[in-house]
């Protein structure tokens, strides 16, 4: 469809969540904004292929995710950021205690496999349905569900089980599941 004023407004309205998604994926504020910029350019250049009435945020997220993927393959996550540069991209710094917990959370999120991280963010933070998330990631709904479950299990193992790093993720996941009394 042509780029109408209202479509343009809708695209603009999606920018904040596109940024949040990009930062969650890349863990790097500057790179995230470049990703968003490229996503917008791509979207505007291909606006004719957008189906009126379909889910615009999902369409934009799909573009961003694909860009991130192809970029990722090139870079292999050269920007590992355990120091918490991510936190510096935030305007509101969490209070001291919360800050630590926050960085811990961020670091744990970074340890997830990419598939699981993006599924968890789409469903758990962006608020997409499993169906939309599946469309965005180009996979089956069941695949998204299992990725989200695995992501949650792994995060809880990393964050809330003592000595997670000593055992390695697989051991701790098993410990958590085993502790669950099956």
């Amino acid at each position: 469809m042509p780029l109408t004023d209202s479509l343009r407004d809708d695209i603009l309205a999606s920018v904040p969540s596109l940024r949040a998604f990009a930062i969650s994926l890349s863990g790097n504020g500057d790179r995230a904004d470049d990703l968003v910029q490229e996503t917008l350019l791509r979207a505007l250049a291909n606006i004719d292929s957008f189906q009126p009435g379909s889910n615009l945020p999902a369409w934009l997220f799909t573009i961003l995710r694909n860009l991130f993927r192809s970029d990722y393959r090139k870079r292999r996550r050269e920007v590992e950021d355990p120091e918490g540069n991510y936190a510096k991209t935030l305007k509101t710094q969490p209070a001291q205690g919360a800050h630590l917990e926050f960085e811990e959370f961020r670091a744990a999120l970074d340890k997830l496999p990419q598939d699981q991280r993006e599924a968890l963010i789409l469903v758990g933070a962006s608020g997409f349905s499993y169906e939309d998330a599946a469309a965005i990631c180009g996979c089956a709904v069941g695949t998204i569900k299992s990725r989200v479950n695995r992501a949650r299990t792994k995060l809880s193992a990393l964050l809330y089980v003592d000595g997670a790093d000593d055992f390695g993720p697989d051991e701790t996941v098993r410990a958590v599941i085993g502790g669950g009394g099956g």
């Binding site: 343009r8 904040p16 940024r19 968003v36 917008l40 959370f105 968890l120 949650r152 000595g163």
Partner: protein, 81 residues
């Protein structure tokens, strides 16, 4: 035995793993949204608002030629402030 106990106290409620798990999951969900919403609340940086305004009409690309009449004459901001 002691080890198990000290670990259990760190991970909370021993003997109630189901509940513990639900509690942890809700904490994770909360942290995830807090992290995300913090960025969302920053709104639209000027950089992007301007980008979209500038690219109002994708007139430069013949591949994307308009299907009908071109939109109202573009308010073109060629200069990048």
């Amino acid at each position: 035995m002691k080890d198990v106990k000290s670990q259990a106290s760190k991970t909370a409620a021993p003997g109630k793993p189901g509940r513990l798990n639900a509690e942890i999951q809700s904490r994770i969900g909360h942290q995830l949204r807090a992290m995300y919403d913090d960025v969302v609340r920053q709104g639209v940086p000027d950089r992007f608002a301007e980008l979209i305004r500038k690219l109002d009409v994708p007139s430069s690309d013949p591949q994307l030629g308009p299907t009908g009449a071109p939109a109202a004459p573009a308010i073109k901001n060629d200069g990048r402030d």
